[in-house]
Amino acid sequence: MTATAQTGAQPNETAQAPKTAPRVGLFVTCLVDLFRPSVGFAAVKLMEDAGCLVEVPAAQTCCGQPAFNSGDRKDARAIAVQTIRAFEGYDYVVAPSGSCAGMLKKHYEELFDDDAPARERAAAFSAKVFELVSFLTDVLGVTGVDASFTGSVTYHDSCSGLRELGISRQPRKLLASVEGLELKEMRDPDVCCGFGGTFCVKYPDISNKIVEEKTKTIRESGAGLLLAGDLGCLMNMAGKLKREGSAIEVRHVAEVLAGMTDQPAIGEKRQG
């Protein structure tokens, strides 16, 4: 894949994207880094198509959410300091995850309650952070993508993206521009899938009950492909669908928007 060959995205004329290519630091997220690198490449492609200069700082690991949500502020704070430093100098910090972007954008500041200068630095950092699809639409003004996908999909609104960052119509709008794609909404797409980070292993039985309800609504939608913007939720729902023997495939929304569906879907084996 070369960076210059693709010019599919159609930036909106009226959007106030800077004239020179914005420098974007990609926050890969630990799950994409470890489990599904193809989502990272899809994110890079989408942003480059929209005219961004994308870089991936090496000094990133995780947003710190596992520590933060486990009550371990000290480690969360150390990871935040490290992340803020790694992304200094970029115009934007973009993550292909509502949950991680929510952590970077909505919670970093409160980690530095007792340190005004650090808090200010965190606030300046957070102001630059966006979730991928929200960045494409809300910041860059992208109104459509040059991709095609033949089949029906259903879209799950992951909790943090929806409720912390207000992401709901943006992915649907971009999906509507994918040639051949039919969106079949599931009932209650805004209800949690039961992942919840460490919750799913701390309370597996409750998590299972919640994801069972979710896969029921996914199956009822009649769609052949489930999409969402968070790999954690996707692995949870894919893991359950596969355990139930469902043929419904599962992918990150960026893969479809970037037209990069050549990799096996989540939890599926490689062909041949």
Binding site: T2, A3, T4, T20, A21, V28, C30, D33, L34, F35, R36, P37, G40, F41, L53, E55, A58, A59, T61, P66, A67, N69, S70, G71, D72, D75, I79, Q82, C159, S160, R163, E164, D190, V191, C192, G194, G196, T198, F199, V201, K202, Y203, P204, I206, N208, K209, I210, V211, E213, M235, G239, K240, K242, R243, Q263, I266, G267, E268, K269, R270
Partner: protein, 483 residues
């Protein structure tokens, strides 16, 4: 009431296996949510009212001592008596004293979560005073020897058939052949049975949704009218309320009322909103001869000025549990004490200690739906996280979780090492999982794989793949940037 919060996991397992309970919980999922959404959407200023409601309570909490004094003065001026109860034990004693002085044998009760909190019914029974619940849901669970599983729909876990069986078991004076098919017949029967109790009762005990500082009034909102009969017919009316129920004025009450019923049941207003101010005055056609207010602290003043103060804004509408996926899965009893759902996950550790209630703030996916519907804009997930912080700093969470976290953090704080290790690990895991694309069992991942497969990694980390492509990419990218 016996606390089973430490056994939350076992309670939850039990609830998940309880088929009738699971059927009943289906109604919570479908019923309340749509009704609230419709009611909220029909009122354009709903979100503004939520802001106002929050601000009113924040103001009260900042000056709680002053408002409490003002309220108490007004109650006394209206001829009522105020009792200050620091603990649940104090409150029980005070109420028993009032019963003794009035020679009470039977007390009727309006719906009150505070009397659940102080375990009043069991205490009165031990002292030969018979409490009779008059709210239909409360009446049902009293017959069943249970506790509420929801703060506004106490018997939401009970199915109609179970109620029918309970009524046949207890109402033995009625025709055993009677038809109880229709829910309305059940309601009619409960009404008839309770009607007699209202007249027998020596004392009526109610809770309060609001205590109004300006007038010294207590206000209850109900849908069945049982609260009115409870407080008007007996000679003595005892209000039991916690200190944060104070609001400055009746105008403030009307502001909060506009979000309360809409959030709770989707009604514009509850059917009855009843204001009581002191005992019966000369010339009043009815009302009690004595009017007492028991003001309960029970740990609330200790929440003031802490990261949990916002929780004291709660008006007990139940919207948070109605929208909670965990509550939907396990119901209210699993939480193991009086207050279930997200509000319970924050409040219970404050009231009974995080050492006992530690599971509650942990058993949340942080999906944030509770906060998004809370009429008082209480940041429930944030406060659950604060409880986790307290647990973490006191080493109360399980050792395995602590060590796992520490190990993870060690690597997450060292990017170069992290990338080296993950590159190897994910490469290996990707190879092992490649055949099927997923694992149905993995050592140390039992929590995950018990119920679902674990998708295998694609193999090789993004960082490793990116580093490989970096040289060519950075050249072409910088070429483009300067173009």
């Amino acid at each position: 009431m016996q606390i089973t919060s430490p056994q939350f996991k076992a309670n939850a397992r039990h609830a998940l296996d309880d088929a009738p309970l699971q059927r009943a919980l289906g109604h919570v999922r479908s019923g309340f949510i749509t009704k609230r959404a419709v009611a909220a959407a029909a009122l354009p200023e709903f979100d503004l009212l939520r802001d106002n409601a929050r601000d009113i309570k924040d103001h009260v909490l900042a000056h709680l001592d002053l408002y409490l004094e003002a309220y108490a003065e007004k109650v006394e001026a209206a001829g009522g008596t105020v009792h200050w109860a620091e603990t649940a034990e104090d409150a029980r004693r005070i109420i028993l004293d009032i019963c003794r002085k009035r020679g009470a044998r039977t007390v009727t009760k309006g719906k009150s979560m505070i009397t659940e909190e102080i375990g009043l019914n069991a205490f009165l029974e031990e002292h030969s005073v018979a409490p009779v619940e008059t709210d239909l849901g409360e009446y049902i669970i009293q017959l069943r020897g249970e506790h509420p599983s929801h703060i506004i729909a106490p018997a939401v876990h009970v199915n109609k058939d179970q109620v029918e069986a309970d009524f046949r078991r207890v109402h033995t004076h009625l025709d055993p052949e009677r038809n109880l098919e229709e829910p309305t017949t059940l309601l009619g029967e409960a009404r008839a049975v309770l009607r007699d109790k209202y007249f027998q009762a020596d004392i009526g005990i109610t809770g309060a949704n609001f205590l109004v500082a300006e007038t010294g009034s207590s206000i209850i909102v109900t849908n069945e009218g049982n609260g009115d009969l409870t407080q008007i017919l007996p000679k003595t009316h005892v209000v039991v309320a916690s200190i944060e129920k104070i609001v400055p004025t009746l105008e403030d009450v009307s502001q909060i009322l506009r979000v309360l019923a809409r959030s709770a049941t989707g009604q514009d207003m509850s059917v009855y909103t009843t204001v009581s101010t002191g005992p019966k005055r000369a010339g009043d056609p009815d009302g009690p001869e004595e009017y007492h207010v028991v003001l309960l602290d029970n740990g609330r003043s200790a929440m003031l000025g802490t990261e949990f103060q916002d929780m004291l804004r709660c008006i007990r509408c139940g919207a948070c549990m109605n929208h909670c996926p965990v509550y939907h899965a396990v119901g209210g009893h699993a939480y193991g004490w009086v207050y279930p759902g997200p509000m319970g996950a924050v409040l219970t550790p404050s009231l009974i200690g995080v050492d006992k209630a530690g599971h509650l703030p942990n058993a949340s996916t942080f999906c944030g739906r509770c906060e998004s519907v809370c009429p008082m804009r209480i940041p429930l997930p944030k406060m659950m996280r604060h409880w986790r912080e307290r647990e973490f700093s006191r080493n109360l969470n399980p050792a395995t979780a602590r060590y796992g976290l520490a190990l993870w953090a060690f690597f997450a704080r060292r990017p170069a090492l992290y990338q080296g290790v993950t590159r190897l690990a994910m490469g290996a895991l990707g190879l092992i999982g490649r055949g099927r694309g997923r694992f149905s069992f993995l050592p140390l991942a039992g929590g995950w794989t018990r119920h679902r497969d674990l998708p295998a990694p694609q193999g090789g980390t993004f960082q490793a793949q990116w580093a490989k492509a970096k040289d060519t990419r950075s050249k072409s990218a910088s070429g483009r940037a300067s173009a």
